[in-house]
């Protein structure tokens, strides 16, 4: 009675823990969470996304074959969204400075104020009483002779050249294009700011869908393509598919397992219990994992089907043993424990070993499956074993005649391995792809629209983002100045084609303090300056811009420093390049490196609080660091597994049999990957580790059976052959179903593991005995 109470209490406690854990789980769509944060590229990109990703800004793109049609569609969409405050707090479809020239004057006033004092000296010299007439005459000269539309416009509306130095600085801007329309006008962009959104990703999914629907309604039947991208669109796209991936792969794996069990055993009650226990294993594992982690990454969602595909092995084993003449429940428990402990131990070890990887996504997957495997083994041993014993039936004649299959199976498998090895020789080993491609979802409208936007607005994927951060504004300014100097040196050395840092925009308090009194004093000279222009032949319109700028300086004279511009135009620009807040400040720039010199530029510029990052550069960094690390990890795990196996068998030759079997598996897998055009990437490289830990189970089961049966291969195959096939089929289903996951890396991991496990099962079942006979010819007689 007392023990029942204790069990009930323990179960209640477990249920409470699981419930708490489950409530903590959230989907995390941040792909950088899958990568090692100690890599500078990951660190810098994470900061870049954190500060500048605009989580509440959606980007609507419109494209057609006619510029006029696209413009009309953009106007209609912007109008419709502006009329829907429930959908858009703000809609921007043209540069703010085109709509409010006062804001533009404020921005120019700020940029001049922020310049080094020496430049302001030169400007003041141009405006001095003895030089202003000559400056105005030079402007007239340019208006008469220049052929450059930009030059004519500036000479006319900024005749004293207040913005001349700024334009000289912005020479590189030519390469960085417009944010609102392609040059041909056939592609347009509208920026939509969200109204207040609720917590969680559901609110974003609904908002994105509503904006998309509104945009499509506004466009109507016109042949204009509507695209939606931006941070909220990514969150909506990826979260939705993550949930679907997890549910669909787990469901299909369960269905495959049910089918296999039914075909093999034709028993309903144990099948129903087994499926229920697999469900319970999944929920308990997820709940327990939820206590340790709160966010499920895109890789983590793959754990459900893998876990089910692996945990069912222990159920099969218990069920099979219950039919193979155990004398009592205790004997069944002992026998099942011996087998399950070995296989679950190596499998869990392999998955937990993923923690040694620096890829947090893989570590999370390893922890989830590792916990799940241990939970699954415990559930099957503690709960399923007595049920299987109670409902045991005598073993019917084997459905798979292994005594007749052994020889042809060995031939066919041997031939398969030879063919795949031949493919490996002819086509070469699978390629390596460490680009950011493996981090992306396979299907995402947001990514498709972003790619199109980048292509049409002329964004160059070779560009590097200069990310500079610091605590106080002054610290960031100092780092910006250091980065600017380093970039100038890199440009002089031929490593950088062009660059733009946020330095001109970042408030320089010292410069402002030196410049402001002198610039503010110009307001008093406005009548003189206007008169000078009139004498040179200008109309009053030519002075409008100059007056607006000097008035702004005069207004700022009474304000505390540093001054930040507040107008719409300035805020629009600053939102993308300068951020300040209680947790520090950050600035963004763009660098166009000379192709092939990216690493040199990064090495020269990167420093404390300064990063040069891009997805392509991240790929290069990962390619340098991750494969070597995974190779070391695989070697370490291989040694550990070898030591465990040596402790179990205490025989070098048997270790050699296992080693050669695994070698054949890896050769065949590499050949199969070459054959199907698969490449190694950041994620499916972990298949090597998982095959070392999971795949070796099949060899282990057969080797143990060979021992039990005195070296009789056919008896061993008859005893565990079906079990190995069932386990392998379930595991292949578990991994195979994540092959359709939307995350490319996860899908490739699933496909590679499924292929590897299928080959492993065949090679263990049919070729291992051949190797065993050759390497241990006397083993049969000694075992007897």
């Amino acid at each position: 009675m007392k023990s029942r109470l204790l069990v009930a209490l323990a179960l209640l406690g477990l249920a409470a823990l699981v419930a708490v854990g489950l409530t903590r789980i959230r989907f995390d769509v941040d792909i950088l969470k899958l990568l090692p944060r100690d890599l500078p590229q990951v660190d810098g990109l994470a900061l870049f996304l954190e500060r500048f990703a605009r989580p509440n800004e959606l980007i609507v793109t419109l494209e057609s074959a006619e510029a006029g049609e696209t413009a009309a569609a953009a106007e209609a969409v912007a109008k419709m969204l502006r009329a829907r405050p429930d959908l858009a707090a703000r809609v921007v479809d043209a540069p703010p400075w085109e709509q409010a020239s006062g804001d533009a004057a404020e921005l120019v006033a700020y940029l001049v104020l922020n310049q080094p004092p020496a430049r302001v000296d030169a400007l003041l010299a141009r405006l001095a009483p003895d030089a202003a007439s000559a400056t105005a005459a030079a402007a007239v000269e340019r208006l008469a002779n220049s052929l450059s539309p930009q030059d004519i416009a500036l000479a006319g509306y900024d005749p004293f050249g207040l913005s001349a130095d700024l334009l000289a600085d912005g020479g590189a801007a030519r390469e960085f294009g417009s944010e609102f329309a392609s040059r041909d006008g056939m592609f347009r962009v509208i920026y939509v700011e969200a109204p207040a959104l609720g917590e969680g990703y559901r609110g974003r999914v609904d908002w994105v869908a509503a904006v998309r629907a509104a945009a499509r309604t506004a466009v109507g039947a016109k042949p204009v393509k509507v695209g939606i991208t931006g941070e909220p669109a990514f969150v909506a796209d990826i979260s939705g598919t993550m949930e679907w991936d997890m549910k669909s792969s787990a469901f299909v794996t369960l269905a495959v397992i049910a089918g296999l069990f039914w075909v093999t055993y034709r028993r309903v009650r144990p099948l129903a219990v087994l499926l229920a226990l697999l469900g319970a294993t999944f929920v308990i594992s997820l709940g327990l994992a939820g206590l340790l982690l709160s966010e499920l990454t895109m890789i983590g969602v793959g754990f459900a089907s893998i876990l089910i595909g692996l945990s069912v092995d222990y159920g099969y084993l218990v069920h099979q043993k219950s039919r193979q003449g155990a004398a009592s429940l205790a004997e069944l428990r002992r026998d099942a424990f011996r087998n399950v402990a070995w296989t679950a131990g190596t499998t869990a070890a392999a998955f937990f070993a993923l923690n040694l990887s620096r890829l947090p996504g893989l570590s999370q997957l390893g922890n989830l499956v590792g916990i799940g495997v241990v939970v699954g083994a415990a559930v099957m041993l503690l709960v399923f074993t007595p049920i299987a014993w109670r409902w045991r039936t005598p073993e019917p004649p084997p459905r798979v005649p292994f005594d007749r299959l052994a020889r042809p199976g060995a031939w066919v498998t041997g031939l398969l391995v030879i063919v795949l090895a031949g493919v490996l020789v002819v086509k070469g080993p699978p390629g390596m792809d460490f680009s950011a491609e493996s981090l992306r979802p396979r299907v995402s409208e947001a990514y498709t629209a972003l790619d199109r936007l980048a292509a049409r607005l002329g964004s160059d994927p070779a560009l590097l983002n200069l990310v500079v951060s610091g605590g106080e504004e002054a610290e960031t300014l100092a780092r910006l100045q250091r980065a600017e100097a380093a970039l100038r040196a890199a440009q002089a050395a031929g490593d950088v084609r062009s660059f733009q840092s946020a330095l001109p925009l970042w408030p320089d308090e010292a410069a402002q303090r030196a410049n402001l009194p002198r610039l503010a004093a110009l307001a008093a000279e406005a009548p003189r300056l206007e008169q000078t222009l009139a004498e040179a032949g200008f109309t009053t319109e030519a002075f409008v811009f100059t007056r607006a700028v000097v008035t702004r300086w005069a207004e700022w004279g009474a304000r505390p420093l540093p001054i930040w511009p507040q107008g719409e135009a300035a805020r629009w620009i600053l939102r993308r390049v300068a951020q300040t807040g209680p947790d520090g400040s950050a600035a963004l720039g763009l660098v166009h490196p000379v192709p092939g010199r990216e690493d040199a530029v990064v090495a020269r510029v990167q420093g404390p609080g300064t990063w040069l990052v891009s997805w392509a550069q991240l790929g290069r960094e990962l390619a340098r660091t991750v494969p070597g690390e995974l190779a070391r990890l695989a070697l370490g795990l291989g040694v550990v597994v070898a030591l465990i196996l040596f402790a179990a068998f205490r025989n070098v030759r048997e270790l050699l049999v296992l080693g050669l079997t695994m070698a054949l598996v890896f050769v065949a897998l590499a050949g199969a990957m070459s054959l199907f055009g698969l490449t190694w990437n950041l994620f499916n490289l972990a298949a090597v580790l998982l095959l070392l830990g999971t795949g070796i189970d099949y060899s282990l089961l057969l080797l143990l059976a060979l021992h039990r049966n005195g070296g009789d291969v056919r008896a061993a195959q008859a005893q565990v052959g079906l079990l190995i096939l069932l386990c392998a089929a379930s595991a292949v289903a578990g991994f195979g179903t994540i092959g359709w996951a939307n995350h490319r890396g996860l899908a490739s991991l699933g496909i590679t593991c499924a292929l590897g496990l299928a080959l492993d099962a065949l090679i263990s079942l049919f070729l291992l005995p051949v190797l065993w006979r050759r390497i241990r010819p006397g083993a049969a007689s000694r075992s007897r």
Partner: protein
Amino acid sequence: MRPLLFLAALALGLTAAPAQTIRTVDVGPLRSWLAQQREIRTLAADFTQTRRLRVLRDPVVRPGRLWFRAPGAFRWELGQPAETIVVRDGGPVEVIRVRAREVSRFDPAKLDATRDLPILEFPLAADYEAFRARFELLDLEATPERCTFAMLPRDAAAARALKEIRVRFDRGSGQLLSFVVTARDGSELRNDFSNVRVNEPLPADAFRVDLTGYTVRDEK
């Protein structure tokens, strides 16, 4: 950063305006003229450029000269003696400021019509379809002797900066008579051509300028 680019637009006082709609017109004269343009191997002309700018009280008038040789060699001279020369002989486009003794050299593929140079090409397009791909036809009026058409580049930035470009030609000879560029702020740049000579030999050094003593800058 990007704020620096918008200054030109700002200075022009640009605001988006609804596209004009062309009434139904017979584009036959334009097609014929474009076909005539294809026959031009060389061209030499004098012109008078008149700039009526909103920011200047009085128009600025300058004489100029033009040479063209198919395909793609041209020389525009503004002022007599020349104060600004734009020349190309198959390679980069050079903008020469004679008084300042400075040369800006542009890659033709990267030329920005709203920033660097306006349209200076002959012929405007190989045929009417190519013309439609690059320009929107806003208006066309024809008499038996003359034809005038208004167009706007499809380039989004140029279209935002300009109100229209109006071209006038002689229907019989195909000779260009004038073209007028009107900016959104109402400013106007007009070129009236005279003494047009088609397919006559040009001076050997028509597309070469001695740049000794000049400072040459390659524009990005």
